[in-house]
């Protein structure tokens, strides 16, 4: 898709000339696409406080518009993402971040899934080993295996 924009512009131009219609390529609301990309990335991580549960990127609320404008301005001033985020948190608190900061009160949040995963797999291994001790895996003779397979096929259908 990288080369496409150039081609697109060519196509658009050709279409315009061929059509003989005077019309311009629509002006992006942003003057700079890179700025806009960063704006989207940052504002997707921020909660719009007046809305029910929407990001500043998605919301059409007035405050969200203002904050997008503010972020755009800060990007223009050369602020880093970190600085912009700090700006928001200083005013609205951690509540504004959709990605909660890692701190003692969120250790359980960030660690929880991985502890669950480790615990779950650990329990599984423990359980399988104990079960194997209780009932050793069946070592079947060839005949028994055939018989079992036949039974299983029966129940499969």
């Amino acid at each position: 898709m990288r080369r496409w924009p150039v081609l697109l512009m060519l196509f658009a131009l050709v279409a315009l000339v061929a059509g003989g219609v005077f019309a311009g390529e629509a002006a992006p609301l942003a003057t700079n696409e890179a700025v806009e990309k960063r704006l989207m990335a940052i504002s997707e991580e921020l909660r719009c406080l007046v809305c029910q549960n929407e990001s500043i990127a998605g919301s059409q609320a007035d405050l969200a518009n203002d904050l997008r404008r503010e972020i755009r301005k800060m990007i223009g001033e050369g602020k880093t993402d970190r600085e912009i985020l700090d700006f928001m948190v200083a005013r609205y608190g951690d509540f504004v971040r959709y990605r909660p900061p890692v701190k003692p009160s969120t250790w359980a949040l960030w660690g929880g899934p991985f502890i669950l995963l480790a615990g779950g797999l650990g329990a599984l291994v423990f359980f399988l080993r104990r079960r194997n001790r209780m009932a050793p895996p069946p070592i079947l003779s060839e005949e028994q295996r055939r018989h079992a397979a036949a039974l299983l096929d029966q129940s499969d259908t």
Partner: protein
Amino acid sequence: MTPELGHFALILAFVATLMQGVLPLIGAQRSQAQWIALARPAAQTHFLLLAFSFACLAQSFLANDFSVAYVAQNSNTQLPAIYRFAAVWGGHEGSLLLWVLMLSGWGAAVSVTSRQLPEVMVARVLAVLGLVSVGMLAFILFTSNPFARLLPAAAEGSDLNPLLQDPGLVFHPPMLYMGYVGFAVAFAFAIAALISGRLDAAWARWSRPWTTAAWCFLTIGIAMGSWWAYYELGWGGWWFWDPVENASFMPWLAGTALIHSLAITEKRGAFKNWTVLLAIAAFSLSLLGTFLVRSGVLTSVHAFASDPSRGVFILLLLGVVIGSSLALFAWRAPKVSAGGAFALVSRETMLLINNVLLVVATGSVLLGTLYPLLIDALGLGKLSVGPPYFNTVFVPVVVPLLMLIAVGPLARWKQADLRDMARRLRLSFVLALLAGIILPQLMGTWTPMTALGCLLAVWIASSTVFQIVERLKIGGGSAPTSFWGMHLAHFGIAVFVLGVTLVGGYQEEKDVRMQTGDVVSVGGYQLRLLSISAAPGPNYRASVGEFELSKNGRVLKTLHPEKRQYFSSQMPMTEAAIDAGFTRDIYVSLGEPLDQQGAWSVRVYFKPFVDWIWGGCLLMAAGGFLAVFDRRYRLRVKAAASLPASATA
């Protein structure tokens, strides 16, 4: 008069369900045939009364009876008839009525199709369903009566929330509730088995088709909700990790785990305790979702108007239903036998890993959803847990799960041969690797995430296809429908994963300012704004844009996105216009008028393969339905009862 009849039917239904919930249970304990025999007629009466009550409410809506408070709050004379009907479940009270109607419907269905099951079992199952319904009906009658009169009657209704005035409302909630409530059947089978102390493979076989059917409805319901949000909210996302979405996703994840563990329990008589616990969990999470959505403890895009007294009632209900089930579980589970033995490498182990991963995924979603509440309850401040968190923790859990889809079905029960499995996966492995390298390049840019997604999709899809081919060779061209069902569902996951990957990696988005005649290019397409004009609607006025979609100078289509202003609520609504296609959607939504010269802000998206997301979900559901109709579930009880003996031997 109609509302009073409806209310009366609701009260009678409450009485019927009390009988359904209590008498057969006592009868089953004391082996009293007459009381046992009450279960079926009570369940059917219960359903008919609720259906009548529901019809009364629908009639009040269609007749614009604004002397009914609920109708006055959620309807309007200008509202089109189809939405007046769907508005029945557009608010809290009516949607609860739909909830119990569906619960009674599932109960009636069990009562009709369970001739081959032991009478005592059926009596207990229907009784448990009845008891759940008693709680919900009490909730409706005491806190949320949809038939409450408004005196004096309102001259005009205050209208249905404009967000809900959409075909999505007609289908999405009924499907979703069918799923939520359907898990009550699996739950009832589990509780009935616990009460009887007869937890065996036959129980698993009986509850399997019901669980799968509920899961299918839930899958469709969630997919429709996602699609609705996609086109209605105007910013083209398909999943937001909103608490209400999570509330539907958690039972889905637990239900998926349940479907798989039921397979072990049915085939091998193993892990009965675990399966029972999952059945309780799936329905408990449905109930928890009901609580989260209706109590106002979490902020969400789609929450109902909340009322703390209702929250207290649902919480009590939650405590009684789930608490008593888990207590029963703690009492009965230690006596349950272990079931058939198996080797470390076997289908059983594969399914167990699947279960562990799915349960961890459920737990993670639960943790993230409730964490703001936990932190607040502990007085540690306010937090938001949103998409960046869920995406970060969910992916590492789900990737191994997806990997396993290709491997699991290859493993034999009891004891599988690793070398044999590796041999059969070789080609899939190569194809997946190639897909991971090449597909992202074809789409534009290679990134690790898109490579991973393409790799997983092809890994699952190819392994699934090879297994079908293998089976057809061996089986002489035929296989049971449940075999097709499983592979179709797995293939659906591959389609879903590819859709998610490609739209996530390669969508294009443009925010532009447009005047008549302006052109915007996105994803190789051009959109020209022809006009924006005012147009009247039945209960709103709209600004309708006319956009000409073309590619390489060839005009394909005209698109008409709208910005609506509803009269009654004065709420502005964005109706996006979408040109949906097999490989891409073009999505246009109108923003705001920018100046007096007629310029508007316009958002356009190019969304490659986005429809594969919902297509994949539909394939999953279709696979589930195939499995439901497998012949073996319709076998007589004797054949089923002989199974545990052979399986646990």
